[in-house]
């Protein structure tokens, strides 16, 4: 057989060894766009398996559900929620295939909500193992923790709830109360390193949703141990410097009027010091922002005094937030989610080896010094305020 024939046969293999078995037309797919994991209600369970059961709610967009041109007036729901209970996530998925004409398709799964009850009991790593093992669900899938039942977040009264969740999650530049998005990939990495995590948590009420706190996950056990409230989330964001926007409200020290400060940027640096057995941190936070709104009568933005007062007011507020957050993290939760440990690892790699095993304990005992500087760089297009009252 000459070389040409061999080459030809090899090339032929490229074609004949593959085929169209992967071909599914797009309209025949049940596209999963959101999923929620919950602990099932006890009444629905069989007694013997009570402990390990998981309830999976899948939000699907199926073309039959989509309003076509002909029935535009007809207000159908655009999505469909499927629910299944079982002790393995995969088993529930397979179960869905028995109930629908087309298989679920996971590549568009964008958001995964985990119920509080479940997360308190089960290791997140185990819950996510299916999503991480298979290639179908992407690492960019967003992870959220639901206060209360996770399935409810996929039933909120918006057009397509999963998209709403993603949309709110991406509003970082408008609010300082949102944590940076935790993706599936990021969570997996943190869990592999036994790191603590703060994951955005959401709560639902009367079919409305709010992103209002952060769930604290303890590394190693990967379970939910507590929450940060909105102010504390803001403080945590300041500590990590992950703020792209949002406001801080302060009170003018002289007139007690309201001052709204729009954050343009926050730079934070955490510097660890180890002297003997004593661990301390210097936190320096520098923020630049704009004066957007003030309730101070006769507040004259052209006067440096007023600007200085503004900066002072915001500084006080920032310090209050930081202290609140640090108190919560250090004293109450005893959990480092702001990256203090990382800085120690960088600055004192040798000591870190001893510290890392009991890091949360050391962290809770460390003393922390705050250094906040606020600069109002811009008072928008208004200077002197005319008072007509």
């Amino acid at each position: 057989m000459c070389l040409h024939h061999k080459l030809f046969l090899i090339c032929l293999l490229f074609f004949i060894l593959t085929g169209c078995w992967d071909s599914h037309d797009i309209e025949e797919l049940y596209m999963e766009i959101g999923a929620a994991l919950d602990k099932p209600k006890t009444s629905t369970l069989r007694r013997n398996k009570e402990q390990n059961q998981i309830k999976l709610t899948l939000q699907n967009i199926s073309p039959t559900q989509l309003p076509s041109e002909s029935d535009q007036g007809n207000k159908k729901k655009k999505y469909q929620n499927l629910t299944g209970v079982g002790d393995s996530v995969l088993e529930i998925f397979r179960e869905f295939s028995l109930k629908n004409d087309s298989p679920p398709y996971g590549q568009h799964l964008k958001v995964l909500v985990i119920g509080e009850e479940l997360l308190k009991e089960k290791n997140l790593q185990i819950l996510l193992s299916l999503f991480n093992r298979s290639l179908e669900v992407r690492d960019s899938c967003i992870l959220l923790v639901a206060k209360g039942e996770a399935a409810k977040t996929l039933k909120i009264s918006t057009d397509i709830p999963a998209f709403t969740l993603i949309g709110i999650g991406e509003n970082e530049s408008h609010s300082a109360n949102l944590l940076p998005i935790t993706t599936n990939g990021k969570a997996t990495r943190s869990m592999a390193n036994d790191e603590n995590m703060a994951i955005q948590s959401v709560s639902t009420k009367n079919g409305k949703i709010k992103f209002n706190s952060a769930a604290l996950i303890k590394g190693g056990v990967n379970r939910l141990v507590g929450y940060l409230d909105e102010d504390e989330v803001k403080g945590l964001n300041m500590l990590t410097g992950d703020i792209k926007g949002g406001i801080l409200k302060g009170k003018d020290p002289k007139t007690k009027g309201l001052i709204a400060y729009n954050i343009s940027s926050v730079k934070s640096s955490i510097t660890p010091y180890i002297e003997g057995n004593h661990l301390s941190f210097d936190i320096s936070i520098k923020s630049v922002g704009r004066l957007n709104e003030d309730g101070v009568h006769a507040g004259n933005a052209f006067s440096n005094k007023f600007i200085h007062r503004t900066e002072l007011a915001i500084k006080e507020e920032t310090e209050r937030l930081l202290n609140q957050t640090l108190t919560r993290l250090q004293k109450q939760q005893k959990l480092d989610v702001a990256g203090f440990g990382e800085q120690v690892r960088i600055h004192y790699p040798k000591q870190w080896n001893h510290l890392k095993r009991n890091w949360d304990k050391y962290f809770s005992e460390a003393s922390i010094k705050l250094n906040v500087s606020i600069t109002v760089e811009d008072y928008m297009v208004k200077g002197k305020k005319e008072i007509s009252q």
Binding site: S23, D25, I26, P63, T64, L66, H108
Partner: protein, 531 residues
């Protein structure tokens, strides 16, 4: 029938032997080329020979007369409609009948030799006059528009150049119109076309070699190149190929193209055809060879590269930035022509995860209720649009536009409404069709449209993997292909940095100091270096 294309001179040398061959094979109507002979001194015998050959045709006119008062019988033979009758009357008949009378009379009859000289030198005031001894050539000449003059006692025939055929005026080339650039295009008359080139390139090195093509059609074919610039190997290859093939009739330069191209199985055209003299001149000065055929406005340019089909003369007439951008656009259009439908098919039937979620959902919604798999849908629509294109092309212009509109809008809309195809598929097909029309050369556009179907099938069976395999196969084929010794995808492969100055981007003219490297020209400087 043994026809052969040889340069004129050779043809004449071979005349006798060739005619003998023909005589053996033919009979009846073919008697136009009957006897290898000379004429006799008797005008009646000669006339009879001609009459026997072509006299039964009503358009062949025989006109007998006497040379003035000498009483010598003479006769002219011509084909009505191919000759300028006014010329015959004024320059031939008048001078033969009247002028000779003043010189000779019945008493002082001239000797035949004397008379021949007189006719050649003083009587006939025409620029083309030829003495012919062969009956076959005489008859071909008469049928091509010459007038034969027979005179008693003279055993040769004068062939007078009286060809006058109404040719189309020089108009704007229809298939290659430009916004900016000369509005002249070739017409069907070789002399006009040749003149257009001479006018545009009055360079003494412009060489034209004439061939006769087609055993029956006897068309003139011109091979043009710049002597001392064009690579001699290229010239000899081209000459070889032109001399080699055997053809009965050559109606259009497309016949020639198909005989001289390198690979007749390749979907890509390996010869460029153009109606634009400026394009031919540009090619000649780049060191290419041009071929002109009588009776068609399409000149051929060899060798070609793939990039030439995506170039328009306008790229050079415009400033370099818009010229380059438009050229890049054409490359994108060419890519879209081949691959857009197949990428769409593979996305929606294999790789739905690669589509942004919201787009995926809206595509799924529009495809809801479509009864066919995407590939059938695509094939259906692509075929429909090809039919529309063809229909619009063949119909008279006003009707053609209506067909385009009716087909494109009404049928498309109705098909979507009826749920047979999805609106997005209509968009894809329309973009593909429009892209294919953005390719300046019609022939290249057809090639790419053809390949589109192949890539669509690959996409339907193997998804993006198949599209990539198809692309690789295409790339292999393109790299292998050569046009007259020049690699088809040069300057990309084989790579030449200087060639990239005029490839996807057109660099400013002052940076293009040398002629294309791939042509291996003898004189590669286009501009002086120090300017």
């Amino acid at each position: 029938m043994k026809g052969q294309i040889v340069p004129m001179t050779k043809w004449q040398q071979k005349n006798t032997s060739e005619n003998q061959k023909i005589e053996k094979n033919d009979s009846g109507h073919q008697s136009i080329i009957s006897k290898p002979n000379d004429f006799t001194t008797d005008i009646h015998v000669n006339l009879n020979q001609i009459k026997q050959a072509i006299g039964h045709n009503t358009d062949v006119i025989f006109r007998s007369f006497l040379l003035g008062s000498t009483g010598i019988e003479a006769s002219i033979v011509y084909v009505d409609g191919l000759v300028d009758k006014k010329l015959i009357q004024d320059q031939i008949l008048k001078s033969m009948i009247y002028d000779l009378a003043g010189i000779f009379s019945r008493e002082t009859l001239p000797t035949p030799d004397h008379l021949k000289d007189w006719i050649n030198n003083q009587v006939i005031a025409l620029s083309e006059i030829k003495e012919e001894k062969s009956l076959d050539s005489t008859i071909i000449s008469i049928l091509s528009g010459s007038t034969a003059l027979l005179i008693n006692n003279i055993d040769i025939i004068f062939l007078l150049g009286t060809v006058s055929f109404k040719s189309r005026s020089i108009e704007e080339p229809i298939t290659e119109s430009l916004v900016r650039g000369p509005r002249e295009g070739f017409n069907e008359n070789l002399a006009d076309n040749r003149a257009l080139l001479r006018k545009g390139l009055p360079d003494p090195s412009l060489t034209m070699v004439e061939y006769e093509v087609g055993q029956r059609s006897k068309k003139k074919l011109l091979l043009l190149y710049l002597e001392g610039l064009t690579n001699p190997d290229l010239i000899s290859i081209t000459k070889d190929r032109i001399e080699k093939f055997d053809l009965d009739i050559a109606l259009e330069s497309g016949y020639i193209e198909q005989f001289i191209q390198d690979d007749h199985l390749s979907p890509f055209p390996q010869v460029q055809s153009t109606e634009r003299p400026d394009r031919v001149i540009a090619a000649l000065t780049e060191g290419r060879v041009a071929i002109l055929l009588d009776g068609t406005p399409f000149a051929l340019i060899v060798p070609v590269t793939f990039s030439m089909f995506l170039q328009s003369p306008e790229d050079y007439y415009e400033r370099w930035i818009p010229g380059s951008l438009i050229r890049i656009l054409r490359y994108l259009a060419a890519f879209a022509t081949v691959f857009l439908p197949s990428i769409y098919i593979s996305f929606i039937s294999f790789h739905q995860g690669l589509i942004p979620t919201k787009l995926a959902i809206s595509i799924a919604a529009t495809r809801e209720g479509v009864p066919f798999p995407s590939v059938i849908e695509a094939l259906l629509m692509e075929t429909a649009i090809e039919v529309l294109r063809e229909a619009g092309l063949r119909l008279p212009r006003p009707v053609g536009q209506t067909v385009g509109l009716v087909g494109g809008l009404v049928v498309g809309e109705a098909a979507v409404k009826a749920g047979i195809v999805s609106p997005i598929m209509v968009i894809i097909v329309a973009i593909t069709a429009i892209s294919s029309f953005a390719i300046p050369q019609y022939g290249a556009g057809i090639a790419l449209r053809m390949l589109r179907f192949g890539s669509m099938l690959c996409a339907a069976i193997w998804g993006l993997y198949g599209v990539i395999l198809f692309f690789i196969l295409l790339a292999i084929h393109l790299c292998k292909l050569k046009s007259f010794g020049v690699p088809y995808v040069s300057p990309a492969a084989p790579y030449s940095i200087s060639g990239w100055k005029d490839f996807i981007v057109r660099f400013p003219l002052m940076t293009m100091k040398n002629r294309p490297q791939m042509m291996h020209v003898l004189d590669d400087k286009r501009q002086k270096d120090d300017v």
